[in-house]
Subunit: 384 residues, 4 copies
């Protein structure tokens, strides 16, 4: 059994970045690993500032991720994993380099731009004996684990419909200030990928549904809207899906839905019952069984499934939130990593964190949505 | 100004029928009209029972609607309108006969089976100087009127998206008992029409959105599911819509969604704000304006628009419900009818009740949905 | 079995009055009785207007309730009951006169000003073989009946605590316009009684708790606040109660609680479970049993108790509201009245409507609250 | 400006303890301080286990807090503060010893058993130049800070009523297993203090109200219930309060309220508006202004007050929870501590964390509640 704390590095996540800080906070919450290296920004001043603030040894505060991969790869005390929280276009090349150095990867979604890239990363990870986690955050909630366990145990029966939505409204302000000369990376297809809202939010839905139910999409029909004068990429996404096996569903995500902060909501309808998860109320699950009144499950209560209970950190009624969801994913990933270091056989899917396969599915989903929309909202078939 | 109470008759709505009783209760609530004639059932015993219970003069408790239309048409004190609350397939022939007798019609939705039938009814009504109301109940809620006024005044700006759903679960039990020999009329296309859930629930969404926003559907893509062993007609409906002018939307209705009673929910997203209406919480409206916290409007409060206020019956915090919604539609219809009787020019659309044009649109919507689904969920274009 | 419809008269409830119209609408909803007489206003013009609008035979549209009681008492076709919806101070004298004529009474709460008056009415009713209903509206909701049945059957075990509140904010505006010369009757102790908010709202809580649980208050400690410059009588009421048997509770009612329309909320905590009723969401009941997730019971669903089911008018998910609650009380009262007319023995308490005993308890509660507050918020003992 | 991280120690919080772990997680979330010393348990095995798990230098993993205070007091690199998360009875003696060594204190509530003890700690802290924070957790929520800023700026006007409650149900199970020989410390007055539920939960209400509104209680009347066979100390608490200045309120807390996890809810009613905070929905605040629909403020949105915004960690719609609330208190405390170390004048109340004065008020409140209840629920006057 390994005794030391795990070590990790981060690329991206410099001053002002939102998600890098959440990753670091989540790791600290678990207290199982230390941040010892990084390449936080390509702006020299910000890079140095981040290094100082995060107490990184200046030798390990790198200026490029290429340099970092190479240098870390050579160290005895190299990082056990790298966290990739850069703009999307660096996900693939960065992950590739670290994997080639035998360094496991935790990567933000979307994993990369194409399925081919994703497959390549998977192959590379396998060749170098590395683990790979894609941080689909919302799989980390205790109540996501509860939903998954209930579905897997057949408590709601075969699934008939899935209704999911993920509206936000934060883009509205930036939409109005975007010009050709002043474009955030998320509004530039070269930096962000073909899909914007569909890749950023749509993949969360696609993943969560798959994670919880195991359902695979067979066909989909997608409409992408680009609202607003400054709109370049999709900011409103409507998808009809048909799953293998006969279930159907509708997914909606938007970045221009006034009055909604981050309102991921997923409802799974089975022959015996229904489960509803709302991210903004992540400590609860609404469960309805036939002929019974709907029930409000509360995170931390004794009636939860064991698969969920083991992630509970504070008693019921004491809210957990986003950071705990991230931390649970890291808890899973670190467990796998320690087993690997201890020489055990590791089946990544069994640990609970979202795997590279899920990352690849997300990339395919996102691309197929764009394909469908470009083809006049035609039905397209998922290949994997 | 007419002094007497209005008179009406009813076809359908005998013992055990749900909706006929609600219509009658709504009319009584307003106290503007009296039920004086009927043809409540084709089963003799039930017909007589209904007549007795409803204090109908036995001479005006008819055995067939054909007989009733003819007899009432000849009376000096004939009914001012007839309420049609029969199974769907009688809507058209019955309405036609009464209109030909100069008797105005209030008809349950779906209006009829085909657009042609609908157009014929419209023409007949015009020729005989009759009014025609289709009881899309949910337009009658005070907060529907509030939403309509706010949208019409531009308070939420141009509309971008419409997200609507109407899940129920009541069909699940009957699904399991349906056999070839034991089929309720709703499960028989000859009696019910081509669409079931789409006609029964989907048209409520289509109508409400149109009623409140004025948006017309340009194209739609529909998937109809038939879940359950006894399933004959659609019981789960998923529709993507594109409106004329560029707005888009998704509609979902279901009769097999465990945990949902009658959960019509419509959200209208504009450039400036969002309005959400939930039928089961019909005394409230959630309104979100950009950069402001969402607000919960309450029926009866002073800040409502005049177009809504005039329908308020009891002070805010004292719930109104389904019956009041119906009663508001009757209030509008009776106002138009009195004006007509008083010899005034009547523009039906200006009174607030859903007109025959809306009934026809519902029929087209429902048929186009079936067309789309039968064509492999292809996009089809609305013609009207 | 009586065949005719019941006949009733009304005193108070003229143009502009809120509650009289609700009573009439509730009676119409049931369609079991007809309004045939009245004394709607002491203002001649309003009296006549009301008579015309309500189609009252001018001979039975009386100018004083004294005249009405006498005249109706002599008629062969006299009213079966009188509805008293006047300002509070007329409740007692009016009820007394009608009872003496053998006419049953439905009276708004508070029943009267003193327990002695209440006892006198009870005695008079008994002597003249009359029934007496006090319209504590919120006992009429289906889910109030559901709660009562569940408690009576021991489903939540012995009761430990009752937490109840009834905040409104409508008084705020009128508070600011009250002057010595311009005082509504509710702000004048001579017309309204010693307690204002406590009598108007507090008694609803006291009654509902007693109606549902059977608990009797042993002692109470009350603070009455008079907020606002124009404040004359209590508009904010805080009460601690100790019930016979050891349960305790807190009641709060207010007319100056900004943001609350009519938010009666009652929670009953037993050894085995908890029941919560919120008037503004009267179609639901929140039920929590030990070690189980809270459940949301929905009016109209199959799992309701028979005692509640029989009052359901429309299917679950189709909201009922205030008018139906009133109508259910009238349904109970009319059932008792028909039995009495048919010569049966009538045990009023068994029909479900709130009896004169409950009215008297309300008067005692209200007066004891004022006593307590006047004595420096001292504990006082209920005597009945 | 100090450069190093702060250092702290902990007494209590060994394996299985709930709150110690939350304190440590909160400190890690901020990443401003390191745990370097402790006295985690009086059970040798647990003490050692905790030390190992928390990577404490064995020299600084003490067996008694007396030893720890003395040893740390002598070190050059002594801890900057000690966290006291022991059973209640050790709060006072432990805090006293550390203060005498010049070590600042963060102490769980209730601060101590008597006002005299509290005053002594305050005096000792002052004499030794130490800071003192009492972890009333719920003051740490962003929306608590928002509420405080809104009230202080007069946005809801002068306060009229405060309605607060804090029901839980966790005690029910342990109640049934308590015997004379098997009593948890919370059920033993010698270990826990005179009040149980009132000290554990009631003080949270008392503090939060005071923290947010500045209101001071003048008089209170309290009923303490001891429900259940195993009940020794109060597990249900009902309090009426009169504040200095004329506002009034009701507080209810319970540990036997089935269906409630940790449902702290506080409503503050002013002349102009109302603010409602619900701990289990800590990312929101319900704000109602006169004549306007209630608004739902969301943590992280642009319209928040600056006093709240500065504590926001993740964007709106991404839930924060209990750990962040604790972390915000530590953020405030560490800011004060760094200023002190940097030689600045420190006015503790200005930093935002709950001070020892608030701790003392909580002790007085709790004791006065017990006094009142023991005196037959008499009104008692707060002295401070």
């Amino acid at each position: 059994m390994m005794e030391r704390k795990l070590r990790y590095g981060m690329i991206g996540g410099g001053p002002g970045a939102f998600i890098g800080g959440v990753h670091r906070a989540a790791v600290r919450l678990n207290d199982e690993a230390e941040l010892v290296a990084g390449c936080f920004s390509y702006i020299e001043e910000e890079r140095q500032q981040a290094g100082r603030e995060l107490c990184i040894d200046p030798d390990r505060n790198y200026t490029t991720f290429e340099e970092m991969a190479e240098a870390e790869g050579k160290r005895e005390d190299k990082i056990d994993w790298v966290d990739i929280v850069t703009p999307n276009r660096f996900h693939y090349p960065a992950a590739k380099l670290f994997l080639e150095q035998g360094i496991s990867v935790v990567c933000e979604k979307p994993l990369c731009f194409t399925v081919e890239e994703g497959e390549d990363l998977k192959k590379t990870a396998k060749e170098h004996g590395c683990l790979f986690c894609v941080t689909y955050t919302y799989t980390g909630h205790v109540m996501a684990r509860q939903a998954r366990a209930m579905v897997q145990k057949g408590q709601i029966g075969d699934i008939r419909m899935v209704m999911a939505e993920y509206p936000q409204d934060w883009l509205l302000d930036s939409l109005e200030t975007i010009t050709e000369d002043n474009k955030p990376w998320r509004a530039d297809p070269k930096l962000s990928g073909r899909g914007a809202c569909v890749a950023d939010l749509g993949t969360h839905i696609e993943n969560w549904v798959n994670y919880v139910t195991g359902l695979k999409i067979d066909k989909l029909c997608c409409n992408l809207d680009v609202f607003g004068k400054g709109g370049v990429l999709d900011n409103n996404v409507e998808v009809m899906v048909k799953f293998k096996g006969g279930a159907t569903g509708m997914y909606w995500t938007s970045q221009v839905a006034i009055g909604f902060d981050n309102a991921l909501k997923i409802r799974i309808f089975g022959e015996k019952g229904t489960i509803e998860f709302v991210q903004e109320e992540n400590n609860y699950l609404r469960v309805s069984m036939r002929h019974e009144p709907p029930k409000i499950y509360s995170r931390g209560c004794g009636y939860l499934e064991e698969e969920a209970k083991k992630y509970v950190r504070v008693p019921c009624g004491h809210p957990e939130g986003l950071t705990e969801a991230f931390a649970n994913i890291y808890k899973d990933f670190c467990a796998a990593l320690r087993d690997k270091i201890d020489g055990k056989e590791v089946d990544e899917a069994s640990y609970g964190y979202p795997t590279i396969d899920m990352g690849i599915e997300g990339v395919e989903f996102s691309n197929k949505c764009v394909d469908s929309s470009e083809a006049g909202c035609a039905w397209v078939t998922m290949e994997k």
